[in-house]
């Protein structure tokens, strides 16, 4: 194994470890997703390094595919974060621990700071409907309301 490959692998491993640690230690949802992205980037780097080592295109192909999927996941993740933020007005992951096994208090050391959820946000008119004169809003339970002007 030539030194360049080895170094790249080491870098990738370090990145991966940083990603894991970030995912485990961060409480901000966006940062957690970014950590996952970091892990995926490390994997892509691994694939590229090995691809270069074996002089074949399979590793690079895989890396490209990983980036594609990673961007899909990022899109979904951010959409999810937005919809979660709408509910509780916080990015703290610990705010979302209502589904659990026991009936006791939430196992969160620091109380989560929660702002008042914002009543509604403007959204785009869904495709397939005539544009409405009044803006369409999403209420708390997700139902679409047409606000009277």
């Amino acid at each position: 194994m030539n030194p360049a490959t080895f170094q790249t692998l080491m870098l990738a491993a370090t990145l991966f470890a940083i990603g894991i640690v970030g995912f485990l230690s961060r409480k901000n949802m966006i940062l957690m997703f970014l950590s996952v992205e970091l892990m995926l980037a490390a994997v892509a780097m691994n694939f590229i390094a090995f691809g270069a080592h074996y002089q074949n295109y399979q590793g690079q192909l895989f890396a490209v595919l990983i980036l594609t999927i990673a961007s899909c996941e990022a899109a979904i993740g951010l959409a999810l974060v937005v919809s979660l933020f709408k509910r509780k007005a916080t990015l703290d992951i610990a705010a979302w621990s209502d589904l659990r096994e026991t009936d006791r208090e939430a196992n969160v050391e620091v109380p989560v700071e929660q702002n008042e959820p914002i009543e509604s946000y403007p959204v785009l008119t869904p495709a397939g409907t005539d544009p409405l004169v009044n803006p369409v809003r999403v209420s708390k339970d997700g139902a679409l309301d047409t606000l009277k002007a």
Binding site: I20, I93, A94, W96, S97, D98, R100, A106, N107
Partner: protein, 652 residues
């Protein structure tokens, strides 16, 4: 053509399915008999077709139905073995079942368990047909238990009646006892066949009848003791199902079930399964003459014992039940004659012959008894009614035909087949080794003929002659059974009258039955000597006379005294055999179970109860780790991966 045979279990299974659906839906219960009767009609038509197309020498034909299980080395195909005895038994089962089902349509009308009854009848006939057809001893055992289960369910049909529930339980337990031995025998045989070089055969395939028959000669040479045990255990299984001494105790109690059930299961089909098993396994039994000797003795004892007990029974159905026991004893007696190996083929033929005729006349007798019971409002005690020939004229004639066939009055069916068995015994009276045994057996056979005549005519006279006497339950106007119920009886009556003559005159039975491995037709048909015919006819007449005088002199309620009284007491208590059973088996078992029960409740239960709390305790502890906080979960996952990597290094 032979694959047609699979139509029989198929339609019966469909009938069973329909029955189960009717029971489940609780709808259309009044039509519950339709699927059963249609299924049975098709089955009997198919079996008759098979019987007549295969005439002129049946070869053993094996047709594979469907593979129930095929897993690696385990291969359990369901095969049908079509040979003479199988076809005969198949026809007896399907035809009698059809007639009984038609009869039951009238008899069971209005019963709350009407749909259930027909569903179980379908299940029974299915299991019985499969028992007869299958080509593998182990699969046979499965259906053997199946018919036992159906019998249990049908005896306990009126399960709210404590006596019925008890009788069902008794039948089931006594049968289990014998089946236990049967199963051990099967497993021993499986082991033995493995010893003589079939160990590479697929697990269950070792018990295919062909494999068994091929292997037994070698087994008899190398492990005669083992083979002897196998034969004995199979015999125990057979006498359990066929209610032979000392396992006969369940059969009379089984009369608690509806009368069609008594006629179908406990007189003609299921109880002959034991005889069928012996016939099926005759190539094996050929090599274990001692077992056949035991079978003969048990049969002889049962034949006489059943006759004696039947003498003083007041319950018409019980008389018939003991008569069944006694007649089945005759069948086993016939097998006893096979102790002289050359006679075994003839024994099988004679036994099958009597099996057929017995099926006809005993079904007829039971169903006419059912008519009586129907008219008398479920009363079957002969002390409470009498002189019914005026009330039930058709039933009277039918019962008379059945009774004459049973006692062996020429030229009715019973005469021919019974003479066949007794004639067989006369053949070897001069045999130096077994001659004396055969002579004793012949004497006992003749004695049972006499007893049969006495109890049959006693029952006949007490029921149908004398002054008209009706029980309270019968109501004001007891009536003859409906035409629908009588029609099958007429068919049975014709059969009872003629079938013996037909079979005996064509003489085709031997060629039909005998293509059994190692059993060759010896071409020496037993011709009952004239003296035997005269003796038995004389015995029948003597019996009738005795019966007549016992009725007319003592009357029904007359006091008996002295030795006859004590004898009557002994027989009406069935020689205290139930009590013997109780003290030898039931009571010790109960004591043992009490002791085991104490151990169970004091030790095992506690351990289990304590043990069962462990998982929930673990669960209660574990559930606190389900915190709902996502980083906790991720951390555990990461630690898990670390642990796995560490493990890989440790092991690698």
């Amino acid at each position: 053509m032979l694959n047609l045979v699979w139509l029989i279990p198929l339609v019966l299974m469909l009938a069973l399915l329909a029955g189960v659906l009717i029971c489940l839906f609780r709808k259309g219960a009044e039509l519950a008999h339709v699927p059963t009767i249609v299924g049975l009609s098709i089955s009997s038509a198919v079996s008759l077709i098979l019987l007549f197309t295969s005439q002129g020498g049946v070869h053993v034909a094996i047709t594979e139905g469907y593979t129930w299980l095929s897993l690696g080395g385990m291969h359990v195909p369901i095969t049908a073995r079509l040979d003479g005895i199988g076809l005969i038994q198949l026809n007896v089962v399907t035809c009698i079942s059809l007639l009984v089902a038609v009869y039951a349509r009238g008899y069971m009308l209005g019963d709350p368990g009407y749909a259930r009854f027909f569903a179980i009848i379908s299940a029974f006939v299915f299991a019985m047909v499969m028992l007869v057809l299958v080509g593998n001893l182990f699969v046979l055992y499965a259906f053997w238990e199946g018919v036992g289960l159906c019998s249990y369910l049908l005896i306990g049909h009126w399960y709210r009646r404590p006596s019925a529930a008890k009788a069902a339980m008794k039948a089931f337990l006594v049968n289990r006892l014998a089946d236990c031995a049967f199963l051990v025998g099967i497993l021993l045989l499986w082991h033995g066949i493995g010893l003589v070089g079939a160990e590479n055969l697929a697990t269950v395939g070792r018990l295919d009848f062909d494999v068994i028959f091929d292997a037994v000669p070698a087994l008899a040479q190398r492990q005669p003791d083992l083979l002897w045990w196998v034969g004995l255990l199979l015999l125990i299984g057979a006498i359990g199902k066929s209610a032979q001494f000392p396992f006969h105790v369940w059969l009379p109690d089984a009369m608690e079930g509806p009368t069609p059930v008594s006629a179908l299961i406990h007189a003609t089909t299921m109880v002959t399964a034991g005889v069928y098993l012996l016939a099926r396994m005759s190539p094996l039994l050929l090599l274990t003459p001692d077992v056949l000797l035991i079978a003969g003795w048990l049969g002889a004892i049962t034949a006489v014992l059943g006759g004696l007990i039947a003498l003083f029974q007041d319950d018409l159905k019980r008389v018939l039940a003991y008569s069944t026991v006694s007649q089945l004893g005759l069948l086993f007696l016939a097998f006893g004659a096979g102790v002289n190996g050359e006679l075994l083929p003839l024994a099988v033929v004679a036994a099958m012959f009597h099996l057929i005729t017995h099926a006809f006349f005993k079904a007829l007798l039971f169903l006419t008894a059912g008519n009586v019971m129907h008219a008398m409002g479920d009363c079957i005690d002969m002390r409470k009614f009498g002189g019914l020939r005026k009330v039930l004229p058709s039933t009277h004639i039918l019962f008379l035909i059945g009774a004459l066939a049973l006692v062996g009055a020429p030229p009715l069916a019973g005469f021919w087949s019974k003479e066949g068995i007794l004639g067989l015994l006369t053949l070897e009276i001069g045999n130096p080794q077994y001659g004396s045994v055969f002579a004793i057996w012949l004497f006992m056979g003749l004695l049972s003929t006499l007893l049969t005549a006495i109890y049959t005519f006693r029952a006949y006279l007490r029921t149908f002659w004398g002054d008209v006497k009706l029980p309270a339950q019968a109501g004001a106007h007891p009536h003859e059974a409906t035409a629908m119920m009588l029609a099958p009886l007429y068919i049975l009556a014709v059969g009872s009258a003629l079938i013996g003559l037909v079979i005996a005159s064509t003489g085709a039975l031997a060629e039909f039955v005998l293509p059994i491995p190692f059993l060759t037709d010896p071409h020496a048909h037993p011709h009952a000597g004239w003296w035997l015919v005269i003796a038995s006819v004389g015995l029948v007449m003597a019996g009738a006379t005795i019966a007549y005088y016992s009725i007319s002199t003592s009357g029904v309620a007359a006091k008996r005294s002295g030795v006859p009284a004590r004898f009557a007491e002994l027989t009406s208590n069935r020689f205290y055999l139930d009590e013997v059973f109780y003290f030898c088996l039931v009571a010790p078992t109960q004591h043992l179970s009490k002791m085991v029960g104490i151990f169970d409740s004091q030790f095992i239960d506690r351990v289990i109860r304590r043990g069962a709390t462990i998982p929930s305790a673990i669960g209660g502890r574990l559930r606190t780790y389900q915190t709902g906080v996502l980083p906790n979960y991720a951390l555990t996952m990461a630690l898990g991966i670390v642990a796995l990597v560490a493990l890989a290094f440790l092991r690698g």
